[in-house]
Amino acid sequence: MLSVFVSVVRRDLLLAWRRRSDVLTALGFFLLVTSLFPLGVGPEPDQLSRIAAGVMWVAALLATLLSVQRLFESDEADGTLEQMLLSVEPLAVIVLAKVCAYWLLTGLPLVVIAPLIALQFNLSPDETLIVCATLLIGTPTLSLLGAVGASLTLGLRGGGALIALLVLPLYVPLLIFGAGAVDAWRAGLGVQSHLALLGACLLVAFAVCPLASAAALRIAQD
């Protein structure tokens, strides 16, 4: 079980390495969207630092949504997905491996680049740290929920808009806990509870999403 997990992660990373440009799209989207906000709402530093966490979280959410719908696409198109369904190994483990690789390729870079954007939005070092921490705990959950949406809409017409309708409502708690952490810190409330709730969401998603996604893939291939 572990060996199939490792080899699928390695396979997806290697594939992405051979197609580097695809990986950068989500990151570019994240950078661009966050840079648009100062242009839209005005460059006052106070206002920017007030909306920074929310903007970064919404951008991360949309960047995930945009890229996650291709998670199973190429495997479905070339028939690899059939082989995954027929594997002796549990499909949920293979799905989890794919989500892991996906997060390493698109979620983690967002966390790494976040301090740069925090700088643009005039956040203090402490606040930057908090935003990065929430993104670090929150983006895996975004990827896991996104995988469920991606497998449900696999091969459907209008998949892009549909996955948004399915997944965005499910993202609401994460957005609230994630973006709220900085506000809570500013109000002197401490951020442990926000981080703990994000962690709890991650655990629930970790337990439910691979199974749901695997079931959806079987349904989609039927």
Binding site: S3, L15, R18, G79, E82, Q83, S87, V88
Partner: protein
């Protein structure tokens, strides 16, 4: 030769509906170990649908598949462990070399095939000169061969389910594949396949299932 008590795979009153169309119904057969079965039928008679039902990718509308005498759903681990399915699509990644592709397929299937077995399979099927080339620059027939190399490397599966394995192959590759199928049968494995071209495969026991007989 006497009829073995337990068939390897068995279909009982299978019916299949695709979309609004009823493809076939009341389909029964039993396949013994070492037996070859050719699924024949006109285009759109449900050959691919039948093969997908037999390997558990699709649910039949009614009826059941039995694996070694048990309902296949109940022994799904054993069922999946015992079969190797190659569909229309090759499951070949453009960005991988043939060897990387074969390695990835084996890993996904949960097999631990030694590296030199994989290499020998690729050489045997005639890809020895193209081992380091990404599949993107291979021809259609050569990609098909990458997928089929899994059969040459396989010594574990009891049943091969092959959907049009001979398409896009040249004469030599067809001969190699037919040889591999004969060897598999001689080992006591079974094969269910579809084809539109007549190919000689040595088999002690064989049957043909014509789906046109079961169409509705």
């Amino acid at each position: 030769m006497t009829e073995p008590a337990v068939a390897l795979i068995e279909a009982r009153a299978l019916a299949c509906v695709r979309g609004r169309a009823r493809l076939f119904s009341g389909l029964d057969f039993a396949l013994a170990p070492g037996e070859l079965m050719h699924v024949a039928g006109a285009n759109g008679s449900g050959k691919t649908s039948l093969l997908r039902i037999l390997c558990g990718l699709s649910e039949p509308e009614s009826g059941e598949v039995r694996w070694r005498g048990e309902p296949a759903r109940r022994v799904s681990d054993d069922w999946r462990d015992g079969l190797l399915y190659l569909g229309h699509r090759n499951a070949v990644k453009d960005d991988f070399t043939p060897l990387e592709n074969l390695r990835a397929s084996a890993a996904i299937a949960g097999e631990t095939t030694p590296e030199d077995t994989l290499l020998r399979a690729l050489v045997d099927i005639g890809l020895g000169a193209r081992l380091d080339v990404p599949a993107r620059s291979l021809s259609q027939g050569q990609r098909r061969r990458v997928a089929l190399a899994r059969l040459l490397a396989d010594s574990r599966s009891a049943l091969w389910i092959l959907d049009e394995p001979f398409t896009a192959l040249d004469v030599r590759a067809v001969a190699t594949l037919a040889g591999a199928m004969s060897a598999h049968l001689a080992r006591g494995g079974s094969i269910i396949y579809t084809t539109h071209q007549p190919v000689d495969i040595d088999a002690l026991r064989r049957q043909t299932l014509n789906l046109d007989d079961f169409s509705c």
